[in-house]
């Protein structure tokens, strides 16, 4: 049994020793970190079981290392040694000094930590990294500044630079573009101007002027220069090109939509009850009945518009007599080639959006019908279709030639044969003319002919309407699939005065307004109406 007095020495702040005594005993005294050791040296440089103190065979106290642990005795590492008073033994960072034994204790040992590690070399506690986002380097001010600066540079400064008074070489820099400011693509025609914004945008912060448009679009007529009905309230009487035409909006944005027309045309009457135009909002359910344009004279502007609902006044005074009923008889029309069943296309030959004018030579005389014969007729000779003068000349020539080469008895006898023949031919020609102009066959069949005591025969001038709906751009080409009779009810018409232009109700059987409807074609303003019309006739309500 070893009885040991363990003196643990620690140092206060002044370095003075503080002694603490502890009794330990046992057959052997283990030194180490382990819980079972009698002398516990709590430092990681000391092994779990570092050394052991025991009695030797000679009953002397020995210290021996365990499992080759290092024990420093007298300056050298040894595996064991006898414990002699005054001896210094180093176990890890601890110094064990063997002191003189007493009666109670065979062994007196003082233990002191002599090689403590500096504080910062001890294993550190959990690392404290950034525990908040601001500690992690996130900030608000700098990103705010830089982000805003980048936006100002690219979204404001660079696009505005081409408009500033800068040297030419600076303006030519590719980076100076105001592309970011554009809402969409430009109109195709304006691509040529792409580099010359100033042609349209003449003044910053000012709208594009009509003058700027008209500098290039010189030949385009205005829709209307102003809104006369608006002048009543003196509100925005001027119409600018940019009200309808918007560039830099891509193809979709450039389209002129019905709503733009309706914006003005829906409130015409609201602003001026006596306005010539009628309010319109949609072709399908809010569009006035058509007005038909009648020719009243030889000039293009000699026209008269009559609302289609005013049926009694819808009489075409064309100067012609023509019966569609006769020509469209289901059993056929008698002709030199026998009874011929005629169709609309025989006379109305399609040409572009409309038809070629009907001509006497091509349409009426082609099959031998309506041949203008002399009286008496002569094989192979026909009267010309033309002016009265030409007809009369042809008659004179024909009858004179006939007398010269034929029976002159009817001309009587006299001293001057030539004079007699001329008078006779003139007389025969006048009789023939009377038959043609006044009888029941010949010119009078189709034309309205009057006789003037001074000027003679007079054929009424033709005033055939070519554009019934002068304000609309109707095309027959798109309606080719339909039969003529489905719109034009001419089969029973006996007079050319009859008008058979389909009314809006008929159109609405197939067409509707801007909103889609089942089995109907959606039609907007621009499908029928043109805006910039140079040929716009003087239209007046009568």
């Amino acid at each position: 049994m070893i009885r040991c007095l363990l003196i643990q020495i620690s140092r206060n702040l002044q370095g003075q020793p503080i002694r603490k005594e502890l009794q330990v005993s046992g057959e052997t005294i283990q030194i180490g970190r382990a819980a079972g050791c009698k002398i516990r040296l709590l430092d990681h440089r000391v092994n779990l079981h570092h050394a052991v103190i025991l009695f030797s065979d000679e009953a002397r106290l020995h210290i021996e290392s365990v499992e080759n642990s290092d024990i420093l005795i007298h300056g050298s590492f040894q595996s064991g040694a006898e414990l002699i008073p005054g001896m210094h033994v180093f176990v890890g960072p601890y110094e064990l000094i063997v002191e003189s034994p007493t009666q109670e204790y065979e062994l007196v040992l003082s233990v002191e930590m002599v090689r403590a590690l500096p504080e910062d070399q001890f294993p550190v506690a959990a690392k404290r990294a950034a525990v908040s986002l601001s500690e992690a380097g996130l900030a608000k001010r700098k990103p705010t500044f830089w982000l805003s600066a980048v936006i100002v540079l690219f979204c404001l400064w660079i696009p505005i630079m081409p408009f500033l008074a800068l040297p030419g070489w600076v303006k030519e820099l590719q980076i100076l573009t105001h592309e970011p400011w554009q809402l969409g693509g430009m109109m195709r025609g304006h691509y040529l101007l792409k580099a010359k914004c100033g042609l349209c945008h003449q003044k910053p912060f000012s709208a594009v002027t009509d003058q700027a448009c008209e500098n290039c679009h010189k030949t385009i007529a205005r829709h209307v220069r102003e809104r006369p009905w608006m002048q009543v309230k003196n509100a925005y009487p001027q119409i600018a090109c940019t009200e309808c035409h918007h560039d830099h909006r891509g193809e979709k944005g450039q389209q002129i939509l019905e709503v733009q027309c309706v914006t003005c045309h829906a409130i015409v009457m609201v602003n001026n009850e006596s306005a010539r135009l009628v309010d319109v909002r949609d072709f399908g359910h809010d569009h006035p009945a058509f007005s038909l344009t009648f020719k009243t004279g030889p000039e293009a502007t000699d026209t008269l518009r009559i609302p289609q609902k005013d049926q009694p006044r819808l009489i075409e005074k064309s100067g012609l007599k023509f019966s569609h009923k006769l020509h469209l008889k289901k059993t056929g029309v008698s002709s030199p080639e026998g009874d011929t069943i005629m169709e609309c296309q025989d006379c109305h030959e399609e040409a572009g959006a409309g038809f070629k004018p009907v001509s006497m030579e091509k349409n009426c005389q082609l099959a031998g019908c309506h041949a203008l014969r002399f009286k008496p007729p002569a094989a192979g000779r026909y009267l010309p279709h033309g002016s009265v003068r030409n007809v009369l000349d042809a008659l004179n020539d024909y009858h004179l030639a006939r007398l010269i080469g034929g029976d002159q008895a009817a001309c009587g006898a006299g001293k001057n044969k030539a004079e007699r023949l001329l008078d006779c031919a003139k007389h025969n020609a006048a009789e023939n003319a009377e038959l043609l102009f006044k009888g029941d066959r010949g010119c009078v069949e189709c034309h309205e002919i009057t006789v003037d005591p001074e000027q003679g025969w007079k054929v009424a001038p033709l005033m055939i309407n070519r554009h019934w709906l002068a304000d609309a751009s109707f095309t027959h080409t798109k309606h080719r699939f339909a039969k003529c009779a489905s719109c034009h009810d001419k089969a029973l018409s006996e007079k050319s005065a009859d008008v058979s232009i389909p009314d809006i109700v008929r159109c609405r059987e197939c067409h509707t307004g801007s909103r889609q409807e089942k089995n109907k074609i959606s039609s907007t303003c621009k499908d029928c109406h043109r805006y910039h019309r140079k040929d716009k006739a003087k239209l007046e309500h009568s």
Partner: protein, 301 residues
């Protein structure tokens, strides 16, 4: 009585006002012209644009108000006597709080209404240009703000539940203290156990960069790993060591809980605050973009 949140301020006063504004805008839009004409250039387009701009200005004013308010408060509280100062301050805060809550309520609901107004203002015409960019910026700021609403409603409660009386600094001290105890305790065991405890002590990290804070834990957390390893090591110990080992093990488990608690606090705080680091700069940037958009529009007339 539970204190009402900014969303419920004055019986949803601003919610109703903003809802009415949105309904009016949508009705006007569908009763107005064909949307394709749009491009914000119709009378309704301009009206929506002006309204949106006014709302954006009010949003920025809220931000300014929020920053300026505490400074003003400090100045006004200074000259008063000490007792009065506290009373005055309390009144001021109450007054200030109420006003700020009202401002925040308006800020939130008008911001959400701005999504609809700004979208209708565009007429659904988008492209690769400044105008769409300004719109996207505004919408991004609002959506970011919506996350802010969520964050403010969710995380403060979780944070207080998580930390109770602690804060991150006291928690770090507790962890350090636990580390010291564990280290000292581990000395009596084999080098292996000692090493496990030391590695956990040295390599456990609390906090980190933005992503680590948002994630809320240390990947392969050394403390968790140490607890797992200690569990295995404990089975090889002798009976006389087990008592001490159990103490060490429970200390390490405690440390693991403390570490997780600290990380949770960091995560909640990061998730609570992260949006504002985007919201404030992008809000000012979006105001700049909107200003550029307005200048660009009127530059061309």
């Amino acid at each position: 009585m539970l204190r009402s949140t900014f969303l419920e301020y004055k019986d949803y006063h601003y919610f109703k006002a903003s809802g009415l504004l949105v309904c009016l805008a949508i009705t006007a839009y569908f009763f107005d012209s064909h949307p394709a004409v749009g491009f914000g250039g119709t009378w309704l387009g301009y009206l929506l644009g002006i309204l949106s701009t006014l709302i954006i200005i009010s949003q920025v004013l809220y931000g300014m108000r929020r920053r300026i308010a505490p400074k003003v408060l400090r100045k006004t509280a200074l000259p008063a006597a000490v007792g009065e100062t506290h009373l005055h301050k309390a009144d001021q805060w109450r007054h200030q709080g109420a006003t700020l809550q009202g401002f925040l309520s308006a800020h939130v609901y008008l911001g959400i209404a701005l999504i609809v107004l700004a979208t209708l203002h565009t007429g659904f015409q988008f492209g690769w240009n400044l105008h769409t960019f300004a719109y996207v910026m505004v919408i991004a700021v609002i959506l970011n703000g919506c996350y802010g609403i969520y964050a403010y409603l969710r995380f403060p409660r979780l944070m207080s539940d998580n930390m109770e009386e602690d804060n991150i600094e006291t928690l770090l001290q507790k962890i350090a203290d636990t580390d010291k105890q564990a280290s000292a305790m581990s000395l009596q065991f084999s080098d292996n156990i000692y090493q496990i405890v030391q590695v956990a002590r040295q390599e456990t990290r609390i906090g980190g960069n933005f992503f680590q804070q948002m994630l809320g834990y240390q990947r392969n957390c050394p403390t968790t790993k140490a607890v797992r390893q200690l569990k295995k090591s404990g089975s090889n110990l002798k009976n006389d060591e087990l008592k001490s080992f159990n103490a060490l093990f429970s200390l390490m488990v405690h440390k693991e809980e403390l570490v997780a608690q600290a990380w949770r606090d960091i995560m909640y705080r990061a998730r609570l605050e992260c949006w504002i680091y985007l919201h404030a700069p992008s809000a000012i940037a979006s105001v700049t973009a909107v200003a550029a958009h307005i200048i660009a529009i009127f530059f061309y007339g």
